[in-house]
Each structure stands twice: as structure tokens, then as C-alpha cells.
């Protein structure tokens, strides 16, 4: 993105942008000259030919190995991720993730507007965890300008974040099961997710991409009906989770498919910067909410679930346990939520933070999500860098997927819980 040249790099090519592009958009003073449709078509031809060359590479005549392009359109890549598989029969020799198909220049857009104008975008980076990403961005700016958050707003933030975590995990639960081959739990999970989305619609008005957090508070108060609904939701969710456990977690086929598949060792996870449930499943109890508490998470009683196996089943079990913990936090927050103002009226509308660098991270359902902000003292941010968990989590598949079956790769990818725009931003 900056056009840096690295000496002795084995494979230096465009990561997020198309192969043919010759510009470096994150450089200051970059101007993009729009191209005509004809231009695009011509460049696409080059790209398509390059694609087909890779996929139809015939290696030496007597060799058995071959390349398979998995994606960008494939039912189990959860969006537009492409995995270049080098295979021998059903066995994978090498995996090469090719990313950038969902690149939308989120970081560049942060530099273009002022601080207020970047509000709606974080929730679109990871659309499954919109509320939590909202908090990540708002928290960064709050740290930069130093603003107080009211008590009730803190509780609201915890409630919506945990609901969002539940919704995201439910979505993942279903999608993972669909990868493993059973379709029904996907729809059961979506039913529960719809309940949560209904609640979000009551507080924010949108179903998926929220803009509920404001600097110093929230957009609007949580209505009593929504709180009631959340209170009713908890026991229902608990009974459903028990059902799912019987349906899925105890099922012998599911266990055979996931146990011992895609083992991420602790060292490997730390080296690649894997965070979230994938790291905790490897036996490292790192959760931003616990180790670097933000908001009021240190006032609740909850545990960080871990597993020691590091395989797909471990990741699955950890995420399911996390759902139970989220319910536990929700129960406490819903009983203790105080009355009071939901935002800080002293919050400034236009502001110029002091020059400096700020970092704030939250625990998204997929891992540590942080926003690194450089301010140069003007109304617009100088640079917004997002540390998105999926980007680091995806890299590990190169090591983990090797010497596995094709079916296992799908399973590993599902268990890592990748959201593609979160990788590409």
C-alpha cells in the first residue's frame, strides 16, 4: 500500500490491490485517476489470464500434484477469499491464501473525513461485530480527546457488546456446522440471532451495520422494552444452547471431524499473532477484557474459557463456553444497570485532538481488535490503522492446513471464524 520494496522477499506482489495496479494509495498526496470501462476490461483480461495460468498449471508430466483455486466464489470461504491449494489427490501440500477481493479502502476513508465522519465505517469492516467495532473506534477517539463516559452508557456498552458477541458466535456456529456438512443448526442459530437483531433494531434502528456509539455515550437510550426482551432472551438462549450441545457437540460424526484437526500450538499461535478464541483454544488465556480491561468489564464476574488441544474442536468448545460467559455477564449487567444520562452532554461536536498516537483495543468475537490513530492536531485523523484479528488469524492456515485433507481445510477455515472484509478492510 505504501510501495515499499523489500530485498530478498520470496514473493513480492500486490497484497490487497489487483495485480495490475501501479499506485500506492496510502501515500499522502495520492490521487486516483478514474479509469474507463474499456481500460478496466483490458486490465481484467490480463488478470484473468494470469488466474487461469495458475489454475491450469500443468506441472511436469508424470507428477500427480495439481493446483486448485478455491474461491473467490466458493460456498465455504465465507465471502470472497481465495485459497490457492497445491494438492496431491485429496491431500493438501501447500495453501496460499490470496486476499484483497473485499478491499474497500476503509483506512484511507478514515483519513479523508473528520473524526465524526468515520463513525459508520468500523461496523462495516466486521459486519458480524458492528457494535464492538463501534466501541473500538469510539474508544480510541475518547482516549485521544479524554472524555468521560457516564455510568449508564458504560452498562449499555457492555450489554450491546455481549449481545453482539452472542450474535456473532451464533452466526459462526451455524456457518461452521454448515462447513462440516450439517445444515439445520445454521437455521436454528439464525433464529436466535434474529431475536438479538430485533433487540438491536429497538436500540439502534439498523439490523446489521450499527452506528450506535457516540463519543462520550450512545446515540439513544436503551428502551425498557428492549431490556425486558433481553431479560427474557437469556433463559431461552440457555435452553437452546443445551439443545445444540446435544445435537452437535456430542454427535460422534462432528467430534470425529473436528478432534485433532488443524492443531495450532501455543508457540505457533503467539508467533502468528493469533488472538481470540483460536488463541485461547491453544491454552493461552489472553482476553483483552480480562488482561487490559476496558469499559467496566472488571466489575463483572466471569471466566476466560480455555482449551489445551488447539484443534478445531477446542476452538469450538471455547466459543461455546464464551457464549455461556456472555450470558453470565449479560445477566449481571441487566440486573445492575443504573438510571442516568446515556451520553455525556459535554462531548464536543467538533474537536482537534492533541497531536500524538493513540491505541485502543477491544475483544471482538474473533480476537483483539485495535485501532491505532495518529493525530496531527487537525480535525481529520492523519492515519487510522486497524489491527483486525482475522488478518492474523488467517495467516496461520498456511502452517496448519498443510498435510491435511481438503475437507479438513474447510473445517479449519470454519473454526478460525474468518470474516473476509475484516481481513481486507
Amino acid at each position: 500500500m505504501y510501495g515499499m520494496k523489500i530485498d530478498n522477499h520470496p514473493k513480492l506482489d500486490r497484497l490487497l490491490l489487483p495485480e495490475y495496479s501501479n499506485f500506492h494509495p496510502l501515500r499522502k498526496g495520492f490521487k486516483f485517476e478514474g479509469d474507463s470501462v474499456d481500460d478496466m476490461n483490458r486490465t481484467w483480461e490480463i488478470e484473468r489470464e494470469a488466474d487461469q495460468k495458475v489454475s491450469s498449471t500443468v506441472l511436469e508430466h508424470h507428477r500427480r500434484d495439481y493446483f486448485v483455486n478455491m474461491g473467490p466464489q466458493h460456498p465455504s470461504t465465507h465471502g470472497v477469499l481465495r485459497l490457492l491449494l497445491h494438492m496431491d489427490g485429496e491431500t493438501i501440500l501447500e495453501i496460499d491464501p490470496v486476499i484483497g477481493y473485499a478491499h474497500r479502502a476503509d483506512e484511507k476513508m478514515g483519513e479523508n473525513g473528520n473524526y465524526m465522519q468515520f463513525y459508520p465505517y468500523p461496523s462495516r469492516v466486521d459486519y458480524l461485530a458492528g457494535m464492538i467495532y463501534n466501541w473500538g473506534y469510539v474508544g480510541t477517539v475518547e482516549r485521544a480527546i479524554g472524555i468521560e463516559i457516564t455510568e449508564r452508557a458504560q452498562y449499555i456498552r457492555v450489554i450491546v457488546s455481549e449481545l453482539q458477541r452472542l450474535a456473532s458466535h451464533l452466526m459462526w456456529y451455524g456457518a461452521f456446522l454448515m462447513d462440516v456438512g450439517s445444515f439445520t443448526p445454521f437455521l436454528y442459530c439464525f433464529q436466535d440471532r434474529e431475536e438479538i437483531l430485533d433487540m438491536f433494531e429497538m436500540c439502534d434502528g439498523s439490523r446489521l451495520t450499527y452506528n450506535y456509539f457516540r463519543f462520550g455515550g450512545q446515540e439513544r437510550d436503551l428502551s425498557p422494552e428492549m431490556l425486558d426482551r433481553a431479560r427474557k432472551f437469556i433463559p431461552m438462549m440457555k435452553s437452546h444452547l443445551k439443545d445444540y450441545e446435544k445435537l452437535v457437540q456430542k454427535n460422534i460424526i462432528f467430534r470425529k471431524r473436528t478432534e485433532g484437526v488443524g492443531v495450532i500450538t501455543k508457540d505457533m499461535a503467539i508467533q502468528y499473532g493469533v488472538t481470540g478464541a483460536s488463541l485461547r483454544a491453544s491454552g493461552f488465556a489472553y482476553d483483552v477484557r480480562k488482561s487490559e480491561p476496558y469499559g467496566i468489564y472488571n466489575q463483572f464476574e466471569w471466566d476466560v474459557p480455555t482449551a489445551t488441544t488447539g484443534d478445531a474442536y477446542g476452538r469450538f468448545a471455547v466459543r461455546v463456553q464464551e457464549m455461556w460467559q456472555s450470558l453470565r455477564i449479560l445477566e449481571q449487567a441487566l440486573t445492575r444497570i443504573p438510571e442516568g444520562p446515556y451520553n455525556n452532554p459535554a462531548a464536543p461536536k467538533r474537536f482537534k485532538p492533541n497531536p500524538g498516537e493513540f491505541y485502543f483495543c477491544v475483544e471482538s468475537p474473533r480476537g483483539e481488535m485495535g485501532i491505532y490513530l495518529i493525530s496531527d492536531g487537525t480535525e481529520n485523523p492523519y492515519r487510522i490503522k486497524m489491527r483486525t484479528p482475522c488478518y492474523s488469524n488467517l495467516q496461520v492456515i498456511k502452517d496448519v492446513g498443510r498435510k491435511n485433507f481438503l475437507a479438513d481445510v474447510v473445517c479449519i477455515l470454519g473454526s478460525l471464524d474468518i470474516v473476509v472484509p475484516d481481513v481486507d478492510r
Binding site: F30, K108, N112
Partner: protein
């Protein structure tokens, strides 16, 4: 896309007499069949893909209209729901997928991003294509960011 026969064909039918009537009603039958069995391609780009899944899930259940059979292979799909921003890197692949689909084929541009580039459109945007109809012809547009599943259903019905 439309159910009515176009004027030229209608004129031809009048000339042909009985055979024309037979063909016209055959065409009508085919159209009813096509309209009620639009199999979409499993093809999610961004946020709207989740709403597309929500539309196919239990609450809204696209299967009621015969559109619940999500096919992974473009060869067996009739309908491409472009759910999300079209990035420059993805665009040639979308065109390729569209070319691989057998006729008659339809495209729904779901969400602001697929219509105009949506919130991601700004002066100097280098990564996306402003509107999917710059590469493939879109038949129905469903606005919103993201549209609710009801919007998608409405779009599906209006495309039928």
C-alpha cells in the same frame, strides 16, 4: 424479466393464429415456471450477504417463493444476488461468474454499494467499482445499507 410478451412477439402471434396462441401460452407457462423457481447463486460479497442469509433463514424463508435452493455452481443458478461492494479485484470474477450462468439469468443489485458504490464512494476511491451495472446488467435494485430481508424479498418478487 417481465411476464408479458413483448409487442413484436405479440404481433407475430396474431399472424400465426392458433400456433401463435399455443406458443404464447407456452411462453406464459415458462415464465411462471421461471418466476417461481429462481435459484440464487451462493455468492456473498460483504455485509449484505448476511442479510441475504437472513432472508433465506427461518424467519423470512426465501424457500416459500421457490428461491431457497442456493446453488454453489453458477451453472445451476438463475439469479445472482450481488450483495455488497464490488471491489476492483473482484470485478472480473463477477463478470466471469455471470458469463458462466446459463440464460435466462437475472441479477439483483442488493444494497447501496452494489447500486452506486454506496457509502464507500468518494472522490478518488481506488478500490471499488461504483455500481455493479458497470460490469453486468442489473435487473432489480434494492437500496439500503444493508436492505432488510423484506427489501430483498420485494426485489425478488418484482423481478419475477
Amino acid at each position: 424479466m417481465e411476464m408479458n410478451v413483448n409487442p413484436q412477439q405479440a404481433a407475430a402471434h396474431q399472424k400465426d393464429g392458433l400456433m401463435g396462441v399455443v406458443f404464447a401460452s407456452l411462453e406464459k407457462l415458462l415464465n411462471i415456471g421461471r418466476a417461481n423457481s429462481l435459484w440464487p447463486l451462493t455468492f456473498g460479497l460483504h455485509c449484505c450477504a448476511i442479510e441475504m442469509m437472513a432472508a433465506s433463514a427461518s424467519r423470512f424463508d426465501l424457500d416459500r417463493f421457490g428461491a431457497g435452493v442456493f446453488r454453489g455452481s453458477p451453472r445451476q443458478a438463475d439469479l445472482m444476488i450481488v450483495a455488497g461492494t464490488v471491489s476492483r479485484k473482484m470485478a472480473p470474477r463477477i463478470k466471469m461468474l455471470y458469463d458462466q450462468m446459463p440464460a435466462p439469468k437475472y441479477v439483483i443489485a442488493m444494497g447501496g454499494c452494489a447500486m452506486w458504490g454506496g457509502p464507500y464512494q468518494y472522490d478518488g476511491q481506488y478500490a471499488i467499482i461504483e455500481g455493479v451495472d458497470r460490469i453486468v446488467p442489473a435487473d432489480v435494485h434494492v437500496p439500503g445499507c444493508p436492505p432488510r430481508p423484506e427489501g430483498l424479498i420485494e426485489g425478488l418478487l418484482s423481478s419475477a
